[in-house]
Amino acid sequence: MVTLDDLKTPKTNTWCPGCGNFGILMAFKKALIELGLQREDTVLVSGIGCHGKMVNYVNINGFHGIHGRVLPLATGINLSNPNLTVVGFAGDADQYNEGWGHFAHAIRQNIDMTLIVHDNMVLGLTTGQATSTSQQGFKSKSTPFGVIPPMLNPLAHALVSNGSFVARGFAGDMMHLKGLMVEAIKHRGFAFIDVFQPCVSFNYLNTYDWFSQRIYKLDEEGHDVTDRKKALEKSFEWGDKIPIGVFYNKERPTYQDSLPHVKDENLTKLSTKNVDVTSIIKEMM
């Protein structure tokens, strides 16, 4: 059984005091413990941004990749060795800006992994520029006169991409978030959690208070997680009341499920001696 202690790393945490990332970090560690996952069997993949430092703070396998590429990187790992539990941690800019081109595709393909987006609605590590999920009018160093376009709705996009597990958490409600993570990791197929993550240094608008005053839990309202249409409607709720929880959860065949020849196969065990290609060579004669 892993313990919190096992998961500790020697790295000093460099997030700002009070940052929402701490809630995500703790929720993830607790989820790992609850799931009884072995450190060796779990891989943390992260993008570049404050969120990306996750790899320094959880003592499990890890790949700190480049900005925006959590999904293809994690996909490569997952397809090669489906025995590994792969959890990706991305930022809003990381996933919804730089990595947006992968989002719908990984979801459609239903890669068997979990994606957690630290959605602080700013580019944190580059000192607070606006991002796709910044609210209209949000002022930052790159948008001193306010953000122009309406914010991106990642949940809606995940839902219309046939997402099999779509959820939203709040870093300020660690236990609830942990529950979402447990469910997401257990889910066979692509599980996506967008996490409201207050950035205490740059997001003066979407603070802990701001979120706390608005969020409510879907499961407390008897939301049917197998109803995609309802989930989509819920994903548009914004303003005074903003839902968190599981919006949609219904398994469908994963990418590997459609590859009968390698289903559940750990491909990393296979490349040890030259593979006989005589049958192809014969066709070349």
Partner: protein, 579 residues
């Protein structure tokens, strides 16, 4: 009578089966014991336009297309108009005069033979699809050449499903019979089956050879986005993945592909991607990450003429410097340029080994001409290059905390795969310490950079044992041709011509461009009397690399950058001009 020295051209619109019919003809020659070279030339379109495929068949080895053509199969009029000047005196054109009317004036020469075969009529009678016209024409060609129809039938049987095969066999028979009856002995060129003592050879493209080698090397995940002229690797591997426990995945972009293979390599499989220039651009960021995380995918860069989209279906060697210097910062890599279909196979196996052993990206640089032309080669020795995965601990891990990026004598950190009991495997695109945690410390950063560059030293040493350069031709010569990659074929053909004329030239082929085999090249060039670089680009990138590494200017450069490969005779002429 000229026996077993033939250059044939099949031409027509895209979609008329030109490629396939040229390929079939080549196969028929191969089965008769001949050496064959087949090259396609097509535009960036799907139907219409003008495509052609040339086949050279010879009882000696052939390394490229010829400058001239002996026999044309013209499925449209353009083929005649575009290629009539390439025909030798005494050459012939097989065509359907019912479809194509060509005046003497249009033809403009009377030293060639027009061989009418009622292709359309025959196909109609057989109630076959129009595309079968080319098979009828093939039959006629076999007849003209006095070659063996049985071999053709055998090839058709091996290629098509029984029903289609039968239809085609009938078609060729009609063409054959028609030509025998009407044009018997009217053509000076003949083909004869050859009893070879050596084993049956294979006929393969550069891309197929690379794909085949990847399977042989144990590649388990291939991820790519289609891009001419790399796409056929994807097609080839996708068609056989089920037989070899491979995953072949068409990604949404090249960016996805490179990151996917990086992930796969980290997870522990042998993995590959391929693309052309535009896609390689998009992969450069991932390439740097591979360098930094010491993962080891193989990346195939199949060049075509740039800049930008350029001439997407033609050939060039304009990306060498880019491949060598792509991505920010500095890290070791290997850049290998096979020159023919034999090297495509063995070099790919080497690439997989070197990538894993030194935990670096391995780039195979090829081009459209090599990738899509078919060459004849010996059956590959599937065990010549065994799998060497380097220092890889696959069982349980024990001992001190596992350090993915451990400092060692030669810079190589023993590898453990994630999932291995006892080890946590952590890597990082940020600069990192031995454990893979992010660092910003100046001394540690220096040390990590040095660690990666120690691997370059180790790699350079290892490569001394490899055939990183090859010297073809006499040891001493009046001039030394220098080249890399696909120019090998035309250069070797040109050398044959030159040697017949009594010129003594040899040819230094540089196979490994990075790390540059300085001492080997130096040793050869030291005794070279005159140096001539031959390249399919405008700025002579190889010359600049020789300058950089050897402080030496080559004497002459023969450059071609019109998207087409060198032709042997023209090349020999250019060489003679500077001899």
């Amino acid at each position: 009578m000229i026996i077993n020295k033939l250059s044939l051209l099949v031409g027509g619109e895209a979609g008329a089966g030109i490629n396939r019919s040229g390929f079939l003809f080549a196969k028929i020659c191969l089965r008769g014991g001949l050496n064959v070279f087949g090259a396609n030339d097509y535009q960036s379109l799907i139907r219409g336009g003008h495509n052609f495929y040339t086949v050279r068949a010879d009882d000696e080895e052939v390394y490229s297309q010829a400058d001239t053509v002996d026999l044309i199969i013209a499925l449209n009029k353009e083929t005649i108009l575009f290629h009539k000047t390439e025909l030798v005196t005494g050459g012939a054109i097989i065509y359907d005069a019912d479809k194509i009317t060509i005046t003497n004036q249009e033809l403009g020469r009377d030293d060639i033979k027009l061989i009418h075969v009622p292709l359309r009529k025959i196909v109609k009678e057989l109630q076959g699809p129009q595309i079968m016209e080319n098979t009828v024409a093939l039959g006629a060609a076999i007849a003209l050449l006095d070659y063996d129809l049985e071999i053709m039938n055998k090839v058709l049987k091996d290629t098509f499903k029984p029903k289609t095969a039968e239809l085609n066999i009938n078609a060729t028979k009609q063409g054959y019979t028609y030509a025998k009856q009407n044009y018997s002995d009217s053509f000076d060129y003949k083909l004869k089956t050859v009893k070879t003592t050596t084993k049956q050879k294979i006929f393969v493209t550069g891309n197929e050879a690379i794909g085949l080698a990847a399977i042989n090397a144990g590649c388990k995940l291939y991820a790519a986005y289609p891009m001419t002229p790399a796409t056929s690797i994807l097609h080839f591997l996708a068609s056989v993945d089920r037989q070899y426990n491979m995953i072949v995945i068409q990604t949404e972009t090249e960016i996805a592909a490179i990151n996917m293979v990086a992930g796969a390599s980290y997870a522990g499989v042998r993995t590959m991607t391929a693309t052309s220039g535009g896609g390689f651009c998009l992969m450069t960021e991932g390439l740097g990450m591979i360098g930094m995380t010491e993962t080891s995918p193989v990346i195939v860069l199949v060049q075509r003429p740039g800049p930008s989209t350029g001439l997407p279906t033609y050939t060039a060697q304009g990306d060498l410097r880019f491949a060598i210097h792509a991505s920010q910062g500095e890290f070791p890599r290997v850049v290998i340029a096979p020159g023919d279909v034999e090297e495509c196979f063995y070099n790919t196996l080497e690439a997989f080994n070197l990538a894993e052993k030194f935990q670096i990206p391995a780039i195979i640089i090829s081009d459209k001409y090599l990738a899509e032309s078919n060459g004849t080669t010996q059956i590959y020795d599937q065990n010549r290059i065994g799998i060497d995965r380097g220092q890889l601990i696959t069982d349980q891990y024990a001992g001190e905390e596992y350090k993915r990026h451990k400092f060692t004598e030669n810079g190589i950190s023993p590898r453990v795969l994630p999932g291995t009991k006892g080890a946590i495997v952590r890597t990082n695109a940020d600069e990192h310490n031995e454990l893979g945690y992010t660092t910003e410390d100046p001394m540690l950063s220096t040390k990590m950079t040095d660690k990666r560059f120690k691997k370059l030293d180790a790699l350079t040493k290892e490569l001394e044992r490899y055939e990183t350069v090859k010297l073809h031709g006499p040891k001493t010569a009046d001039a030394t041709i220098i080249g890399w990659g696909s120019t090998k074929g035309p250069i070797r053909e040109a050398m044959k011509l030159l040697s017949k004329e009594g010129f003594k030239v040899n040819y230094l082929q540089i196979v490994y461009l990075t790390p540059f085999p300085v001492s080997k090249v130096q040793a050869i060039l030291r005794s070279a009397k005159k140096t001539i670089v031959v390249e399919n680009n405008r700025t002579s990138q190889l010359s600049s690399i020789i300058r950089e590494h050897l402080l030496k200017t080559v004497d002459h450069k023969i450059l071609k950058y019109d998207g087409r490969p060198f032709n042997p005779e023209a090349l020999a002429r250019s060489i003679k001009e500077v001899l």
